[in-house]
């Protein structure tokens, strides 16, 4: 599992040192506070344990800076500067180690970047990871993989990766009891299960087979989750990164999504979710049981320079600042003023 992340002059961050829960990690904050950057950085470090790609190369492909100039990932400054990111990790047998990537702002290619730390140990302990981006790719899966592999198209690699993960065939042997339960919950919510034909996804139920292009995007999300559970990508020891799950998801389906994510956490999947949505956040709060491991991370701009700061807390009530609740607070204040004018002021 991923224990910690440190950024120094990396993308939007001056300095960040954040510790993660081995269970669910919820990142909240206004736009431009680096939530997706955190998810991508950790995902890239997880992915190389399986893909064996170079760390700098993966970071470059996942972030996709202009011209693929990796030096552009260093936080902008008037003079040439260096930046770094460092990830701490712990294996199930208790071994703790880290890797660090150091860049300078004038670097053009990933080969110039410096990777230090326990790189060998990092790669010798592989684990599955999956990044679900905001934009749905399931309906666009046909031919996207071959296009991405042969042409230089302007897509961050997370979009190709998610399709690869979804196309993985089912694991050998019978599906275990816990996964059957989760698949059942999803099948009930989306009224069917997912099949693939010629690189195209369909929802299959009693009425027939419905191609994903005709399926509501919210159901495609449930379908993707179904595939990742069914094909064993999300097993104990794996990591799931989900950027704004609420996008195009009916609020009523959020309880289902959250219950699945909490169950995955109980099975030993480490989960990282970024969100702007109160309902999603509240569903996590309500679904948390005594032994669940959940941490809320608030990212916000502060200090004299408006740099990105963070605060982490194990309860939603204790999270401060809470950008989502602050928005509701602002609405309440304006409503009171509208209804009561200057009364009490």
């Amino acid at each position: 599992m991923i224990k910690s992340l440190k950024f120094l002059n990396f993308t939007a961050f001056d300095s960040l040192d954040i510790s993660f829960s081995p269970g669910v990690n919820l990142l909240i904050g206004e736009n431009g506070t680096g939530k997706t950057h955190i998810l991508k950085a950790i995902y890239a470090a997880c992915d190389i344990t399986k893909s064996k790609k170079g760390f700098a190369e993966k970071i470059n492909d996942v972030f996709y800076p202009s011209g693929k100039q990796i030096g552009r990932l260093v936080k902008r400054a008037k003079t040439s500067t260096s930046g770094s990111m460092e990830l701490g990790r712990e294996t199930p047998d208790g071994k703790a180690f880290s890797i660090k990537l150091t860049l300078t702002s004038h670097m053009l290619t990933p080969t110039k970047a410096k990777v230090t730390g326990a790189t060998k140990l990092w790669l010798e302990n592989p684990f599955s990871s999956v990044f679900i981006p905001v934009k749905d790719m399931m309906a666009n899966a046909p031919a996207f993989r071959s296009l991405y592999a042969t042409r230089n198209i302007h897509f961050e690699e997370v979009y190709a990766d998610i399709i690869d993960r979804a196309f993985l065939p089912a694991l050998k042997g019978p599906t275990d009891h816990q996964r059957i339960k989760l698949l059942g919950i999803l099948q009930a919510a989306m009224d069917g299960k997912v099949i693939t034909k010629n690189e195209e996804f369909f929802l299959k139920n009693k009425q027939g087979e419905l191609e994903f292009t005709l399926l509501a995007e919210g159901f495609r999300k449930l379908g993707l989750l179904w595939l990742l559970i069914q094909n064993g990508t999300l097993l104990s020891g794996s990591a799931l990164f989900w950027d704004e799950p609420e996008t195009n998801l009916n609020p009523r389906l959020m309880q289902t999504v959250v219950s699945i994510l909490m169950e995955l956490q109980r099975l030993g999947v480490q989960i990282f979710v970024s969100t702007h949505d109160y309902i999603l956040l509240k569903e996590f709060d309500l679904a948390t049981r005594e032994h669940d491991q959940i941490r809320y991370h608030s990212l916000y701009r502060g200090g004299n320079t408006g740099e990105i700061l963070h605060n982490s807390c194990d309860t939603l009530a204790g999270l401060d600042p809470n950008a989502i609740d602050a928005t509701f607070g602002s609405i309440i204040d304006r409503q009171v003023s509208k209804d009561m004018g200057m009364l009490g002021k």
């Binding site: 609740d325 509701f328 609405i331 009171v336």
Partner: protein, 176 residues
């Protein structure tokens, strides 16, 4: 004018009168004394009345914790749908009974603002406010009505209260 109610202290600096409306002491001149639900506090301002109801919910489930007049187990706290339904009904009927009581006192000449002080976050308070306004009702009233029951209804936590009402500062003085 200062009043203590349900573990909170309010200072209505511009009030004509403030009192505990659900007073249970029979020797008090403001003893309630009717088999009706009652809001916690009423404040009289120059042009308005304020009906104030306070509700505190335990952070975690405690079957014996008191919420209003009932224990958590009686309210069925772990079932959040029933929980919020009970709360909404409680707030609704307290207002209506208090309004009828005040009608009998001939104290309904000024419009009423109903202020509910809850310990929920701003988002959840917004949801309760919306439901309460619909059911009191405030927003959509029958065409036959020529008067309003309440001028407005606000559901606020302590932070939001103090943000919005600097002339009526509130603070927690003990666990409710």
């Amino acid at each position: 004018m200062i009043v203590d109610a349900d573990g909170y202290r309010f200072d209505f600096t511009d009030a004509i009168n403030v009192f505990k409306f659900d007073e249970t002491d029979p020797t008090s001149p403001t003893f309630h004394g009717a088999p009706m639900k009652a809001v916690d506090v009423i404040a009289e301002l120059s042009d308005f009345y304020l009906f104030i109801e306070i509700k505190e919910y335990p952070a975690s489930y405690d079957p014996d914790a008191i919420i209003g007049e009932k224990t958590c187990s009686e309210v069925d706290c772990p079932n959040r749908t029933k929980h919020l339904e009970w709360l909404k009904n409680n707030l609704k009927y307290k207002f209506r009974d208090s309004f009828i009581y005040r009608y009998a006192e001939d104290k309904t000449k000024k419009p009423v603002h109903y202020l509910c002080l809850l310990n929920f976050d701003d988002a959840l308070n917004s949801v309760i406010r919306k439901t309460l306004r619909r059911e009191l009702p405030i927003d959509k009233v029958p065409a036959r009505w020529v008067k309003t029951l309440a001028q407005s209804c606000q559901v606020l936590n302590l932070d939001a209260w103090n943000r919005n009402f600097p002339k009526w500062p509130a603070q927690k003085v003990r666990a409710a």
